[in-house]
C-alpha cells in the first residue's frame, strides 16, 4: 500500500541536479554538481511514496531513516531532515556525495520499478549542506558519560563513524590519525571537485564539538602500539584503511613521472599541489597523462590530471566499460570532460627517454574470455597488438593493499593471506581481545559507506561488550575475505 497521489508519483521524472559545464569545470578544482535549491529538494522529496514497508532502508549500510528525513525535506523542515540523518550517520554531507546510492538504497526504491528511483543521495546532500550553510549548530544528543574510553585508530570513514556512534552512546573517544589532517581517504584521496575538504572538516569538527579527542601526526604501531593503547583505553577500533598502493610490476615503473594514484591524489588534494601559487608541494606539470585502472580512483586521477593542466588524458582499462568498477556518474563525468577511454587495453611497459623520464607507454589490446572468480570476464591478451601512446606521465590506479604497520606491530592480531585483519563481519571483533576493526583494512579496498557500516557495527558491539558484566567472553568468528583490488 502506498500513500495518496502515488499514481502521479509513479513514473514521475527525477529532479535533475545541475552541474557546472565540462569546459568550465576542468579548469579548476571546484565541485561539479551544484546541489539542489530548496524548491528542487522539496519537489524531489515529494516524489517519495512513503511506503508502509520501505525497501530503501534495507539498502543503507548504516540504517538511515530514509523516508523520515525525506518527508522532513518535503515538508520544508530541512534542519530536522539533517538531524534525522545525523542520528546514525556522522558524515551525511560526505555520503550524499560519494556513496553509490544507485546500487544501495536507490536500487531498492519502488519508484525505480516504473521509472526513476527517488534521488536519495541528492536529498541527503541537500539536507546536510542546508544545515551547514545555515549555521545549524544543534548536535545529536550525548547521553550521560559512561566513563569508558575508546581509542579509534584512523580518521577515515570507518573511524569517524565508529567515533560518532560511540559518542552517541556516552563513551569518551580519542581518534588517532597518522597524517596532519583528519579524514583519511576523504581528504587525501577523493578530490576537491568531488568532495570539498571544508565539508569533511566540518563533519570532523562536529565530532570534536561532541567531545571526540582528535590526535593527528600519530602513527599507531610506531609512536604507540595497539598494546600500549589497550593499557589506557577500554577498547580499540582499528580503521586504518587499505593504504598501500599496488603497481603493475612492468618495466619502467620507476621512471620519473610514474605516480601511484595515492601519491598523485595526495599531492594534489591533501597537499594542495594544484594551488601552485601557495602550496609548496610540487607535482609535475604533465601534458599527456596515462591513467591505468577502471575504478573511482582512476576516474579521480584522470580528472585531476586534466585540472592540473594536461592536454590529453588517456584512461587505460584492461576490460570493457561494462566491467568498470567506477560509479556510472563518475565515468560519465570523465567522458564529458574529455578523458580518452581505452578499454581492453593493458600496459606492458613504460618507456623512458635517455634522462629517465616517462616518454611513452606500450600497451597490448585485450579481449574478454570466460568469467573469473570475481564474476567478471577475464581479459586475455591479443598477441601482436602492441602499440605505444605518447605520454609524459603515468598514474597507476589499480588498487591498494592493506597498510601493514598495525598488523606488523600487533603480534596476536590475526591477518589473512591478503594482509587484511581477520574480523567478524557482524561485530568487527578481531582475534585480539578488546580490539575491533572495520573498513578497508578488513575487507580490502571497498567503498566509503561499507567502511562506515563496519564502523557503526563495531561501535554497537563495543557498547554492548562494555555494558556486559565481567567476565566477558571474547568469541570472534574469524573470516577471510579478499580485496577486490579495483574499487
Amino acid at each position: 500500500m502506498t500513500a495518496p497521489n502515488s499514481e502521479k508519483k509513479i513514473g514521475s521524472p527525477r529532479e535533475p541536479m545541475s552541474e557546472r559545464p565540462a569546459a568550465e569545470r576542468v579548469r579548476d578544482f571546484a565541485e561539479v554538481p551544484v546541489g539542489y535549491t530548496p524548491d528542487q529538494a522539496r519537489a524531489e522529496a515529494s516524489r517519495c511514496l512513503l511506503c508502509k514497508k520501505p525497501q530503501c532502508l534495507a539498502g543503507c549500510p548504516v540504517g538511515i531513516d530514509i523516508p523520515g528525513f525525506v518527508n522532513s525535506i518535503a515538508e520544508g523542515r530541512f534542519e530536522e531532515a539533517a538531524d534525522r540523518i545525523l542520528l546514525v550517520n556522522a558524515l551525511p554531507a560526505v555520503c550524499g556525495r560519494v556513496c553509490p546510492q544507485e546500487t544501495q538504497c536507490e536500487i531498492k526504491c519502488v519508484l525505480g520499478k516504473k521509472g526513476e528511483p527517488l534521488a536519495i543521495g541528492n536529498l541527503e546532500r541537500f539536507a546536510a549542506d542546508w544545515k551547514r550553510e545555515h549555521g545549524g549548530r544543534t548536535l545529536p544528543p550525548v547521553p550521560q558519560p559512561t566513563g569508558r574510553r575508546i581509542a579509534i585508530v584512523g580518521s577515515g570513514p570507518a573511524g569517524l563513524t565508529c567515533a560518532g556512534e560511540l559518542i552517541g552512546q556516552g563513551h569518551a573517544v580519542t581518534i588517532f590519525e597518522a597524517l596532519h589532517k583528519t579524514g583519511g581517504v576523504l581528504v587525501y584521496g577523493i578530490p576537491e571537485f568531488r568532495l570539498p575538504k571544508a565539508i569533511v572538516q566540518d563533519e570532523v569538527d562536529r565530532l570534536a564539538a561532541r567531545g571526540a579527542g582528535v590526535v593527528t601526526d600519530t602513527v599507531i604501531g610506531k609512536l604507540e602500539t595497539v598494546d600500549e593503547l589497550l593499557g589506557q583505553y577500554d577498547a580499540v577500533f582499528i580503521g586504518v584503511g587499505a593504504g598501500a598502493p599496488m603497481f603493475l610490476n612492468i618495466p619502467g615503473e620507476n621512471l620519473v613521472g610514474v605516480y601511484s594514484a595515492n601519491e598523485y591524489l595526495t599531492r594534489t588534494n591533501l597537499m594542495r599541489a594544484y594551488d601552485r601559487e601557495h602550496a609548496d608541494t610540487p607535482i609535475l606539470q604533465s601534458s599527456r597523462v596515462a591513467v591505468v585502472g577502471g575504478g573511482n580512483v582512476a576516474m579521480d586521477s584522470a580528472r585531476t590530471a586534466l585540472r592540473l593542466g594536461a592536454d590529453v588524458v588517456y584512461l587505460l582499462y584492461r576490460r570493457s566499460r561494462a566491467e568498470m568498477p567506477a560509479r556510472n556518474a563518475e565515468i560519465h563525468h570523465a567522458e564529458q570532460e574529455g578523458i580518452r577511454f581505452n578499454f581492453l587495453t593493458n600496459p606492458t611497459r613504460i618507456l623512458g627517454n635517455d634522462t629517465g623520464w616517462v616518454a611513452g607507454i606500450e600497451c597490448l589490446r585485450m579481449k574478454l574470455g570466460e568469467p573469473d572468480e570475481s564474476g567478471r570476464r577475464r581479459p586475455l591478451p591479443i598477441e601482436g597488438t602492441e602499440f605505444v601512446l605518447d605520454v609524459d606521465a603515468a598514474v597507476i590506479a589499480i588498487g591498494n593493499r592493506p597498510n601493514p604497520i598495525v598488523p606488523q606491530t600487533t603480534p596476536d592480531l590475526q591477518t589473512t593471506r591478503w594482509g587484511t585483519i581477520v574480523a567478524d563481519e557482524a561485530t568487527g571483533r578481531t582475534t585480539k581481545e578488546r580490539v575491533w576493526s572495520g573498513g578497508d583494512i578488513v575487507t580490502g579496498a571497498a567503498t566509503v559507506i561499507s567502511a562506515m557500516g563496519a564502523g557503526q557495527a563495531a561501535a554497537r558491539d563495543i557498547d554492548a561488550y562494555l555494558a556486559a558484566p565481567e567476565p566477558r567472553p571474547w568469541r570472534p568468528e574469524p573470516r577471510e575475505s579478499p580485496g577486490d583490488g579495483q574499487a
Binding site: 600519530t218 598501500a244 598502493p245 620507476n254 620519473v256 601519491e263 629517465g356
Partner: protein, 282 residues
Amino acid sequence: MNEILKKEVIAPDVVRLVVAHRKLACKAQPGHFVILRVSEDGERFPLTIADSNTPQGTITLIFQVVGKSTALLAELAEGDTILDVVGPLGRATEIQRYGRVLCAGGGIGAAPLYPIAKALKEAGNQVVAVIGARSKNLVILESAFRAIADEVRVATDDGTYGRRGFVTDVIADLFAEGRTLARCWAIGPVPMMRAVCDLTRAAGLPTTVSLNPIMVDGTGMCGGCRVIVGGEVKFACVDGPEFDGHQVDFDSLARRLATYHDSEQRDHEACRIALTRPETKD
C-alpha cells in the same frame, strides 16, 4: 610538544635542533626518521633522527638548508614549535655485535650516521668512523664521533682538514693497511654512497646505506619513495630506509630524487632572496 629547545648553526647552512617530543624520544631508535611540516602551505619532508634523549624527552635533528622547506625550518627560533613532527618512521638499524665496523658519513650524512655508530659501539663493536666534507668548515660532528668511536678519520675534498680527498680515499687507505672490517654503514649524498659501495663490493665488505628519496606520507601510502633494491621495488619509508648498498640501483634513485629539481631551485632562489641569513654563505 614539537617545541625547539635549542638551535645551533653547526656549519654553514647546517642547523642542529633539539626538539621536545616525549613519546618520540622514548621510541626513536638508530635509523628511524621523522616527517616534518613547517607551515600550513608547506611540504612534508623526511629527516633522519640524529639523536634522542629519553629522560629529557627530546630528539635531535640535523639538517642542511637545501630548499624552501629546510630554509623555513632553519628560520624557526628557540621556543618556536614545528607544526608537524611524525615518527618514528622506517625500520631501525640492525644493531648486533659484528666485530670491527666502518661508519662512513659524507657531508650531512654524518648526522644520521652518528646514532648508528653510537649504538654499534654500545653493542660492543669496534667503530672506525670516516667523515668526509667538501671543506674544513663543513665537517660536522667530529667531536661527537671522537667521543664514541675507536678511531676517527676525516677527509676534505680541498685538503683544508684531514686527508685531502673523498671518504672513498680513506676507505681505500684502510683496505691498503690491511684492516679487517666486518660491516660498513655508508650515509651521504648518492654519488658518495655509490662510490663507497663500488669499493666495498670489490672488497667483499657488506655495506648498509640509508636512502632519503622523495616521500609524502612516510607510512607506505604514497609509494613515491620506491627504490630498486636487488631488482625489486621497495618503499624506503617502510622497507627501509636502510638497504644492502650492494643491491641498490643508485641511478634510478638519483633520477627520481631530481624529479622536482627545476621547480625547487626556483622556489629556493626566491626564498634565499627573501630571507636574510647572514651566518650562511655559499
